[in-house]
């Protein structure tokens, strides 16, 4: 039998375990086509909110040697673009997750209701954006708030729900809350609050002051997060954070992830990154004698 990179998320087969991370290019049909051309097994949209958002004024990103800090401010054209995005993905025959972000569980229900009209394959709940007041970690600060949002959405959802969390001291309880409400999958992790100050200008560089750190810097924190949640809850997990080589992706999978999202890596390594990683994973699997992703998931845990 030949090597296969297929993986299963929320019961659905993906041709490979790689997807883009939410917020990277997924807010216009042209961008969906661009993402599709890169070879991903699934596409995730930019987090969409009820109304369009302008986001912060540039500079919204600071590139660092080991990642980047962004404070885009959830700029997006609003949930209604979802129809076109799902349509573009369908046309390209690629599964799509619609990412939604609200300030309250009521907003999340409204968003999910609209999202379901567009019939995406999955809905990703952004419970973890760190730099946009009212949204993300602000809306989902406590285990109770997470439960409230996920249970509300799950109660009306007819398609699988992913809960995207970030690193926190209560990560395991947060993930448990989301799963207990019916989330099929935990997405780990979002960016971590961070700041860079220019010593001569003597102010923070980002217009918003602080932003979220992504890229290689957070990769070992993300691997830890995936490992812990898998160890404690045996959950279905999508790993995200600093994946830019096949080694990074395999680390996530051995730690317990069934799929891996790539954000910052697209910039640091270029648009060919998906093909390079797939090539690397295949040679690796050949070298160690593995036939499928499935047999690698979570095996770094002591048996």
């Amino acid at each position: 039998m030949d090597i296969t990179l297929e993986t299963i998320i929320s019961g659905k087969k993906l041709s490979n375990p790689l997807m883009n991370a939410s917020g990277i290019l997924g807010d216009a049909p042209d961008a969906i086509r661009l993402l599709n051309s890169m070879g991903f097994g699934c596409i995730v949209t930019k987090t969409l909110t009820l109304r369009p958002r302008e986001g912060y004024r540039p500079p919204i990103i600071v590139p660092l040697d080991y990642g980047l800090i962004n404070a885009v401010g959830l700029a997006n054209p609003g949930i209604r673009i979802g129809a076109e995005l799902v349509f573009a993905a369908r046309n390209n025959g690629i599964p799509i997750a619609l990412s939604i972000g609200g300030k309250t569980s009521k907003e999340f229900i409204e968003l999910a209701t609209i999202a379901m009209e567009y019939d995406p394959d999955f809905i990703e709940l952004n419970l973890s954006c760190p730099h946009t007041p009212g949204y993300g970690i602000d809306a989902a600060k406590t285990v109770k708030a997470i439960k409230d949002i996920v249970c509300s959405v799950a109660s009306i959802a007819s398609i699988p729900i992913w809960a995207k969390l970030s690193f926190s001291r209560n990560l395991v309880s947060e993930a448990e809350a989301a799963l207990s409400c019916g989330a099929s999958t935990i997405v780990l992790i979002n960016t971590i609050p961070a700041m860079v100050i220019d010593p001569y200008i003597k102010t923070p560089i980002l217009s918003h002051g602080w932003g979220g750190l992504s890229g290689p810097a957070i990769h070992p924190i993300a691997v830890y997060s995936v490992y812990r949640v898998y160890e404690e809850l045996n959950a279905e997990i999508i790993g995200v954070g600093g994946a830019e080589t096949w080694r990074d992706v395999i680390e996530f999978i051995l730690a317990g992830a069934s799929a891996v999202q790539i954000g910052t890596g697209l910039i640091r390594k270029g648009h060919n990154i998906v093909r390079e990683i797939i090539h690397g994973i295949k040679s690796y699997m050949r070298e160690i004698g593995a036939k499928s992703i499935h047999e690698l998931i979570g095996i770094a845990h002591k048996k």
């Binding site: 290019l25 997924g26 042209d30 961008a31 086509r33 661009l34 590139p63 560089i205």
Partner: protein, 260 residues
């Protein structure tokens, strides 16, 4: 070859402006020291200039000196941020770059066509090809002659032949396109033609030139992240991002967009 094909990866730099000079009614040259570092770029790469208290705006690197320790911008103030920028002599600014991809076909005879602030990226091409001892013709056009000002003086440092165009008082009366149209220079005598300026000028030239494979156009779009993440600069109708795939494009690749 005297210039190695090498550029920095995008980073944040602090710059200190040490000279601002009004070149014409509409254009300023701004010279910037990259503090304790080098920002090494190749044309037509650009930077995001972070003006403290204002926004970060995309600007072409017009000249690179001291191996990237010094850069020159040519700025046309149009709004809040660019108007502030041209007042910041002796001040610190933030610089994110280099952004975009180098696009450097090899040829012995190069024709550069610039309108308005499009002179900035064209100057950088001129500097690059001059360092390779290539033969450069530089056409610089504007509406009025007072928009031309002292710009040709800078261009002459790199280009063997400089032609200005405007409605009155320039080498040629007319537009940059007219220079081609009326045979002042002949496109087919050049290995490559580069074009930068207002989109309407680019469209006109796109409609006129014969060899779309040998024409490079520098585009502008709304740049927010500059790194290919936010999608703001996508060239609609294509799957190309200005800040990632551009800002220079071979005309044949985007001619459809320009014809829309």
């Amino acid at each position: 070859m005297s210039i190695a094909y090498r550029y920095s990866k995008p980073s944040y730099f602090t710059g200190k402006i040490y000279n601002i000079n009004r070149l014409s009614r509409t254009l300023y040259e701004i010279d910037i020291n990259i503090i304790q570092d080098k920002l090494i770029s190749l044309p037509p790469q650009f930077v995001l200039v972070c003006v403290p208290g204002y926004e970060a705006v995309p600007m072409s690197i017009a000249v690179q000196e001291e191996n990237g320790g010094v850069i020159k911008l040519i700025v046309k103030p149009v709004g809040e941020t660019t108007n502030k920028l041209v007042t910041l002599n002796n001040e610190y600014i933030g610089i994110i770059g280099p952004l975009g991809k180098p696009l450097l076909p090899s040829g012995d005879k190069i024709l550069l066509l610039a309108g308005g602030s499009g002179v900035a990226p064209m100057l950088r091409f001129a500097q690059y090809y001059a360092s390779l001892k290539k033969d450069i013709t530089f056409v610089f056009g504007a509406w009025e002659s007072d928009e031309i000002g002292d710009v040709p003086g800078i261009i002459r440092r790199y280009a063997s032949e400089v032609i200005t165009t405007c409605t009155n008082g320039c080498d040629i009366r007319g537009t940059v396109v007219d220079v081609l149209k009326y045979g002042y220079v002949r496109e087919d005598e050049y290995d490559y033609v580069f074009v930068a300026g207002p989109e309407i000028m680019i469209r006109n030239i796109a409609n006129y030139v014969k060899n779309q494979y040998k024409t490079i156009v520098i585009m502008e779009r709304l740049v927010r992240c500059g790194l290919g993440l936010c999608g703001s600069c996508i060239i609609s109708g294509t799957n190309k991002l200005l800040c990632y795939d551009g800002p220079g494009f071979v005309l044949s690749d985007i001619v459809e967009v320009l014809r829309q």
